[in-house]
């Protein structure tokens, strides 16, 4: 059941970013372009996702443990540090430049356009560089 749950969660996630159009980097960049052809759709995606997740987390985190695993693995990192801020700045630059963040970029691979593949390869390289050079490990601590 744990395997099926992971697959189904991925399926729902993929359906969500696709039906909302977030898989299209131009649509995302148009959201970020407040003074241009602003497309507010992403605001609606975030608002709905946040409302549903907030309500759902309230319910599921009341349980002593997850249904098919031993414990909830919640991010253990606390506090605002340079790494968090610096990482967010760098991510923001790349997101703005391309309109791609990790989820939609990986999902968009299925359409077979070369920019998706080029982006995901570069992103994987960036992740490998960051974990080996800056974090000194290939198992980076993650909030998500």
């Amino acid at each position: 059941m744990d395997k099926l749950t992971a697959l189904l969660a991925g399926l729902l996630f993929g359906a969500g970013i696709t039906v909302s159009g977030m898989v299209n980097p131009m649509k995302v960049q148009n959201f970020l372009d407040l003074s241009g052809d602003w497309d507010p759709t992403l605001l609606f995606v975030m608002a709905a996702a946040l409302a549903v997740t907030y309500a759902g987390y309230q319910l599921v985190l009341k349980a002593p443990r997850p249904r098919f695993a031993l414990a909830f693995i919640l991010p253990s990192l606390q506090g605002i540090d340079e790494r968090l801020i610096g990482g967010a700045v760098v991510f923001g630059l790349g997101w703005g430049l391309t309109g791609f963040c990790p989820g939609p970029a990986v999902a968009s691979l299925v359409f077979g356009y070369w920019p998706s593949a080029l982006f995901v390869l570069s992103m994987a390289a960036g992740m490998a560089i960051a974990s080996h050079l800056f974090l000194g490990t290939d198992e980076s601590p993650s909030d998500g």
């Binding site: 898989v23 970020l32 003074s35 703005g96 391309t98 960051a130």
Partner: protein, 160 residues
């Protein structure tokens, strides 16, 4: 510069930059993403953060990478299924920039999400839904810098 990869589309047609505001599809998609996050937390006790999930798959294989691989497989399948069922027209895909901005942007997104321990899904949705101060700050910062980058690219430099 706008690169379209469909025959018969004018890649330099400035109007094709615009995308339609689709609030209902946005809400529907957001609900599905929320359900995914709840399912992953309630079922496996895990955060639905794509940068963390994808990043861990790049490292040495470990037993708990099985669920991550299945999540990514589901993500790809969900995208294909939704398109096949008419929920998205893949001909509308359009990619800002050029090969150089794509490579630089990919590197920055990989570096930034690894250092900052999360992206739009992990911090922006799951983290904020837990009222995590780290995630709220992170999301504010990356949103601000993404908006500033697009402003600079489109309205100051005039590229893209």
């Amino acid at each position: 510069m706008l690169s379209r990869h469909q025959e018969g589309m004018d890649p330099l047609d400035a109007h094709s930059l615009a995308t339609a505001f689709t609030p209902l599809a946005g809400l529907a998609g957001g609900i599905l993403i929320g359900l995914s996050a709840i399912l992953l937390m309630g079922g496996l006790g895990r955060v639905a953060g794509v940068s963390g999930i994808f990043g861990a798959l790049l490292g040495r294989w470990r037993p708990d990478n099985a669920w991550r691989a299945l999540f990514i497989l589901g993500l790809l399948a969900g995208t294909i299924l939704t398109s096949l069922l008419g929920g998205f027209d893949s001909n509308s895909m359009a990619f800002p920039g050029n090969p150089m901005t794509t490579v630089v942007g990919g590197l920055l997104v990989g570096l930034g999400t690894t250092l900052g321990a999360g992206c739009t899904s992990g911090h922006g949705i799951c983290g904020i839904a837990r009222l995590s101060m780290r995630s709220i700050v992170s999301t504010g910062v990356f949103m601000f810098f993404a908006v500033a980058t697009v402003y600079l690219m489109r309205h100051v430099i005039g590229a893209s």
